[in-house]
C-alpha cells in the first residue's frame, strides 16, 4: 500500500472514466455498493432484524448522509457492512462491493480475514462518535499514526514520523502534539486527530459515525467546514451517519433516511430538504432547526421509534404517521424510484393509488 500515499490531491482518482470535477449526482463511479444488506442480532427465529435489505451506493468524492433516530439501524448498517459489528450481530444476507483503485471489486461479506485486514484503513477508514473512547488511552498520538503507517506501508521510521506531522498539520494541530496522550487534548482536537488518522492512508471511503455529536456547536461547525475542504482537496467519498438531518443538508450530496432498519427515502440533499416525500423525513425535518436559513414550524413526530423486538407489521412508521392508510398496516412499501426524479421513497402515498398530501408533493 506504500505507493498509495500520494500527497497530491489532484491525483486522488486515477480511474480514466472519472473526471477531476464532480459532475451532477450519479455521474461518478461507485466506490462502495451495498446491496440488499440485512443484519440481525442473534440467530434463528428469535433474531432481531436490525437492518433489512438496505441498498446504498457511495460514489467517488460523494458525501452520502445516513440519517435516522437512534435505534434505526444506521450505525449497525455501517459496522455490519465493514464486518466490524460485534456479536451477537450477524450479517444475514446481501453484498457489499468495494471497488478498489486497482483490481477487481471485492465483496466484503465474502472476504477473508486477511483480505479485510489489507482493505481496512487503506481503502475504508472510520471516525467514531467518541474520539476519547476510540483512541488508545495509554499510547501517544504519534504511535496511533505510526501503527497505521507501519501496518500498511514500508515507510522508514523517520518518514512515518514526518507523515504523521503533516497529517496533524492538515487538520490544524501542531505536530508537537504527536507526543501527547489523548487525555491531554481537547474534545475538538481529539476528533481532528481521528480525522487525520482516518485520512492517513488516503482511503477512498471514510465512514463517520456521529463524529461531531459529542462536540459543542462552534467546534462542530469548524470541523464540518474542515471536512468539506478536505474532501474537496483529497477527493475521498464520505459516508456520514448522524441523527441530525439539518447537519447533513449542509454537508451531504445525497441523503438516505432510515427508519426501523429500512431505508425509507433517498434523495439529493437539496431536494430532500426542499421537498421531503416520506412522512418520516418530513417529521425529521420539522424537529431540528436548520443551521442556516428560515426556520420551519417545529412539530416533531408523535410517539417514539419502535423497539427492534416489536416492529409494527406493515410499514413500521404507520403508528406514528399522520397519513397512515389501511394498507400501511398490512404491507411493507418498497423503496421505489420516483419517476423522473432520481430519488427513491418507500411510501404508499407515492405509488399513484392515493392522493399525495400537499406537504409531501413536489413543490
Amino acid at each position: 500500500m506504500s505507493d498509495s500515499l500520494r500527497p497530491a490531491p489532484a491525483a486522488a482518482d486515477p480511474s480514466p472514466n472519472a473526471s477531476p470535477q464532480p459532475l451532477s449526482e450519479g455521474a461518478e463511479e461507485p466506490v462502495l455498493e451495498i446491496r440488499r444488506l440485512s443484519i440481525d442480532y442473534g440467530l434463528g427465529p428469535g433474531a432481531l432484524h436490525a437492518v433489512v435489505a438496505a441498498d446504498l451506493t457511495l460514489r467517488r468524492r460523494q458525501v452520502l448522509g445516513l440519517a435516522g433516530e437512534s435505534g434505526s439501524g444506521k450505525s449497525t448498517l455501517a459496522y455490519g457492512a465493514t464486518r466490524l459489528l460485534r456479536e451477537p450481530g450477524v450479517v444475514a444476507g446481501g453484498e457489499v462491493l468495494l471497488n478498489p483503485r486497482e483490481g477487481a471489486p471485492t465483496d466484503l461479506l465474502a472476504a477473508s480475514e486477511r483480505q479485510l485486514r489489507a482493505i481496512r484503513w487503506s481503502e475504508i477508514s472510520m471516525v467514531l462518535q467518541s474520539a476519547l473512547n476510540a483512541l488508545n488511552p495509554v499510547v501517544r498520538i504519534g504511535k496511533e499514526f505510526d501503527d497505521i503507517l507501519r501496518a500498511h506501508s514500508r515507510l522508514s521510521r523517520k518518514a512515518r514520523r514526518r507523515r504523521a506531522g503533516e497529517l496533524l498539520e492538515m487538520v490544524g494541530i501542531h505536530p508537537s502534539r504527536l507526543s501527547d496522550h489523548p487525555h491531554q487534548l481537547s474534545g475538538g482536537q481529539r476528533q481532528r486527530v481521528m480525522i487525520a488518522l482516518a485520512l492517513a492512508l488516503e482511503p477512498q471511503v471514510v465512514i463517520m459515525d456521529e463524529p461531531t455529536t459529542a462536540l459543542d456547536v462552534v467546534t462542530q461547525r469548524e470541523i464540518i467546514e474542515e471536512l468539506i475542504e478536505l474532501r474537496d482537496r483529497l477527493g475521498f467519498a464520505l459516508l456520514f451517519i448522524t441523527h441530525d438531518l439539518s447537519l447533513l443538508i449542509e454537508l451531504a450530496d445525497e441523503i438516505a433516511v432510515m427508519y426501523a432498519g429500512r431505508i425509507v427515502e433517498r434523495a439529493p440533499a437539496e431536494e430532500l430538504y426542499r421537498s421531503p416525500r416520506h412522512p418520516y423525513t418530513y417529521g425529521l425535518l420539522h424537529s431540528f432547526p436548520p443551521l442556516h436559513g428560515e426556520v420551519p414550524p417545529m412539530t416533531g413526530i408523535p410517539g417514539s421509534p419502535p423497539d427492534l423486538a416489536s416492529i409494527p407489521a406493515g410499514c413500521a412508521f404507520h403508528p406514528r404517521c399522520p397519513y397512515a392508510m389501511d394498507r400501511c398496516t398490512r404491507a411493507v412499501p418498497a423503496l421505489d424510484l420516483l419517476e423522473g426524479q432520481g430519488r427513491q421513497v418507500a411510501c404508499f402515498l407515492h405509488d399513484g393509488q392515493a392522493a399525495v398530501p400537499s406537504e409531501l408533493a413536489l413543490s
Binding site: L84, R120, L128, P137, V138, H183
Partner: protein, 324 residues
C-alpha cells in the same frame, strides 16, 4: 509525581502504624502476656536477657509510656530489635540470615506467577468462547486451596513419592553455603517445588483478573478501532492487553500482603529456612522479640514491593490520575 508522593505518604504512615502497634500491643494487652512469659522462661535464660525483655516490652519499668516510646524508636534506628528467646541471638542478625531466602523464593515466584497469569489471562480473555474457558473452573479451585495445603500435597506426590524433587530444606546440607556453582545449583533445585507451589496457588488470581479485564477491554471502542485500522492481530491483542494489565498491576500492590502471607506458610511445609519457618519457631516458643521483628521486616518488605509496583504502574499509565 504527586501521585507517587501520595502513595509514599501512605506507606510511611503504614510503617509508622505497624511500628506503633508493635510498641503498644505488649503494653496494652490484657493479662500481661510478657510477665507470664518471663515467669515461664525464668531460670532457663540469663538474667541479662530477662532484663532486656523487660526493657523492650515495658515490664516493671518506672518510665512513662512516652519516654518508653522514644527509647523504642531509638533502638529501632540502631536496628536493635531485641534478643530472640528461642535462638538466644539478636533478632536483627537472625533476620539477616533468613530474609534473603524468603525474598528470593517468594519474590521470584510471585513475579513469575504474575507474568504467567497475565499471559494466560490475556489469551483466555481474547479467545473467549473456546474450549480454553474450561480452565476457569480449574483456576477457581486452585484459587481456593490454601498454599500450604497445596504444598503438602505436592511434597507428598512429587518429592516423597515420585522423588522428582528433594524433600525438605533449601539446599543440600552436605554443601557449605558459599558462592560457587554447586551450591547455587542446589539452591535452585531445592527451590523448585516451593516455587511451583506458590506459583500454582497464586496464578489463578492473576489469570482470572486479567481474563476479566481483557473481556471488558476488548469491548472498548479503541480495540475495535485497532481492527478497523487493519492492524495485525498481534497488535490488536497488544492494544487491549496493554490497557487491561493496568488494573492487574494496581491489584498487585493490593494483593501483596495476602500473597506474602500465603507464601510464608509454604516455607513451613518445606522447612525452607526463611522468615515463614522462623515465624513458626517464634510462635511455638512465644518468642515475642522475634515475632515482632518478623512482623516489622515483613511489613517493610511488602511496602517496598508495593512502591515498586506503583512506580511500574505510573510508568505504564500516562493518565496520572488521582486515586479513585
Amino acid at each position: 509525581m504527586t501521585t507517587l508522593a501520595r502513595r509514599l505518604g501512605v506507606y510511611l504512615l503504614t510503617a509508622w502504624v505497624a511500628i506503633t502497634v508493635n510498641f503498644l500491643l505488649p503494653r496494652m494487652m490484657p493479662g500481661n502476656p510478657v510477665r507470664i512469659l518471663i515467669g515461664k522462661i525464668h531460670g532457663r535464660v540469663t538474667p541479662q536477657m530477662v532484663r532486656a525483655i523487660e526493657e523492650q516490652f515495658g515490664v516493671g519499668l518506672h518510665q512513662g509510656l512516652w519516654s518508653q516510646y522514644l527509647h523504642y524508636w531509638d533502638q529501632l534506628f540502631h536496628l536493635n530489635l531485641g534478643v530472640s528467646i528461642a535462638l538466644s541471638a539478636p533478632v536483627s542478625s537472625v533476620l539477616k540470615q533468613t530474609v534473603p531466602w524468603t525474598v528470593g523464593l517468594i519474590g521470584a515466584s510471585t513475579v513469575l506467577s504474575f507474568l504467567l497469569g497475565t499471559f494466560v489471562g490475556t489469551y483466555l480473555g481474547w479467545r473467549r468462547g473456546t474450549v480454553f474457558d474450561a480452565v476457569l473452573p480449574v483456576a477457581t479451585f486452585f484459587q481456593a486451596v490454601p498454599y500450604f495445603f497445596f504444598g503438602t500435597v505436592l511434597l507428598l506426590v512429587f518429592a516423597s513419592h515420585l522423588r522428582w524433587f528433594p524433600e525438605l530444606g533449601a539446599y543440600n546440607e552436605a554443601l557449605t553455603p558459599h558462592w560457587h556453582w554447586a551450591f547455587v545449583a542446589s539452591v535452585l533445585r531445592y527451590g523448585q517445588l516451593p516455587a511451583i507451589t506458590v506459583i500454582v496457588s497464586s496464578v489463578a488470581g492473576w489469570i482470572m483478573g486479567m481474563r476479566n479485564m481483557m473481556v471488558t477491554t476488548v469491548a472498548e471502542d479503541f480495540v475495535l478501532m485497532a481492527v478497523a485500522k487493519g492492524l495485525p492481530k498481534r497488535k490488536v491483542v497488544a492494544y487491549a492487553a496493554r490497557n487491561a494489565v493496568l488494573p492487574s498491576i494496581s491489584n498487585f500492590s493490593l494483593a501483596m500482603g495476602l500473597l506474602v502471607s500465603g507464601a510464608l506458610l509454604v516455607e513451613l511445609v518445606f522447612n525452607y529456612p526463611g522468615v515463614g519457618d522462623l515465624l513458626l519457631t517464634a510462635v511455638q516458643n512465644e518468642d515475642y522479640p522475634l515475632l515482632q521483628g518478623i512482623f516489622l521486616v515483613i511489613t517493610f518488605t511488602v511496602l517496598s514491593a508495593n512502591l515498586i509496583a506503583d512506580v511500574v504502574y505510573m510508568a505504564l499509565d500516562p493518565r496520572i490520575r488521582r486515586e479513585a
